[in-house]
Symmetry: C2
Subunit: 191 residues, 2 copies
């Protein structure tokens, strides 16, 4: 039985539980078992402080990742130009633990293009040879390798011989479209 | 000899090399050796594509993290509300590999406060009992555990029995202030 940890910012959506259920149902359809962060229902009253509860959630998620054979991470940009950092941490952890790494993004634009649109300078800066300087408004460089996000993310997936897919979704379904997710399940099932 | 991987968005600064040199000099002062992503100077002409070069950088960084005994991650928010995702991936990887995890942020504000300021709704939403709803403008929840960033990050450091510190820097020195970094070196040296 292949256990797949379902990482992504879905846990922050108003329909977080339903999104998890939909992903778990798809996993089952392909013969896999999905492990979703919200599977563990914690009682806020059982903790002395918000931090203690947060650490319990973190411990539970790390345990699920350790149990899992693979991770499928939703790396669609979340509140900004990059993937949700919690999801990215989990992907790195899974890489360190030697798990199978699968990930998708529902935004096909390259990282450099998204970053420049969001953080580029008010006035474009050009080199002597006429090339656009890929810098942000503070003069920091914007990495431009035709990848979907920071190079450590897609690089790690590549080093792990995993798979990363992008799929263009409508803005309304940006975080919930499961086409890329299902394509990864098909890829894993074809093994 | 304790090897420390120096993770952070410094690699994107105009003075990226100098920042790395400053961090390495501080490491040496405390009897440690710092490993900085830009130590490996890659020749862009040696690669067939930008992606191939990006993957070579990723491979080099992962190798440095594997060699290292510890990681010190600069988790100061970078181009948005959270830490640089590349740095966060590296922290997760180091956690999976069982390394010592140390991290700092030069912004003392809690994650929820920063997130609400940047992504909160135009009109505040209150519950029947008068509590402010911690949601963003899309209705997604903003996690509110009095932590500095997504709970997986500080949670992982806590699980690893590592150390996370915040330090308030001036805006101009937000990404370059090394007070928190040095405090972590002192903590590590005190062992």
């Amino acid at each position: 039985m292949t256990l797949i940890y379902l990482a992504g910012p879905e846990v922050f959506l108003p329909n977080a539980v339903e999104q998890g259920a939909a992903k778990k149902a798809l996993c089952e359809q392909y013969g896999f078992t999905g492990l979703y962060p919200l599977d563990a229902e914690l009682d806020p009253d059982a903790y002395d402080s918000p931090q203690a509860m947060a650490f319990a959630i973190s411990r539970g998620n790390e345990q699920l990742i350790q149990q899992a054979d693979a991770i499928i991470a939703n790396l669609t940009p979340f509140r900004g130009v990059s993937a949700d950092v919690g999801t990215v941490y989990e992907l790195g952890l899974a890489r360190g633990l030697g798990k199978t790494l699968l990930a998708y993004s529902n935004d096909v634009r390259p990282f450099a293009e998204r970053s420049y649109a969001m953080f580029g300078p008010a006035e474009a800066v050009y080199s002597a040879s006429g090339e656009l300087a890929m810098i942000d408004r503070d003069g920091n460089s914007i990495e431009d390798f035709s990848l979907s996000d920071n190079l450590m993310i897609e690089g790690g997936i590549q080093l792990a011989k995993g798979r990363f897919m992008t799929h263009e979704s409508s803005a309304a379904e940006r975080l919930t479209d499961l086409s890329g997710f299902e394509a990864l399940l098909q890829w894993l099932a074809a093994g």
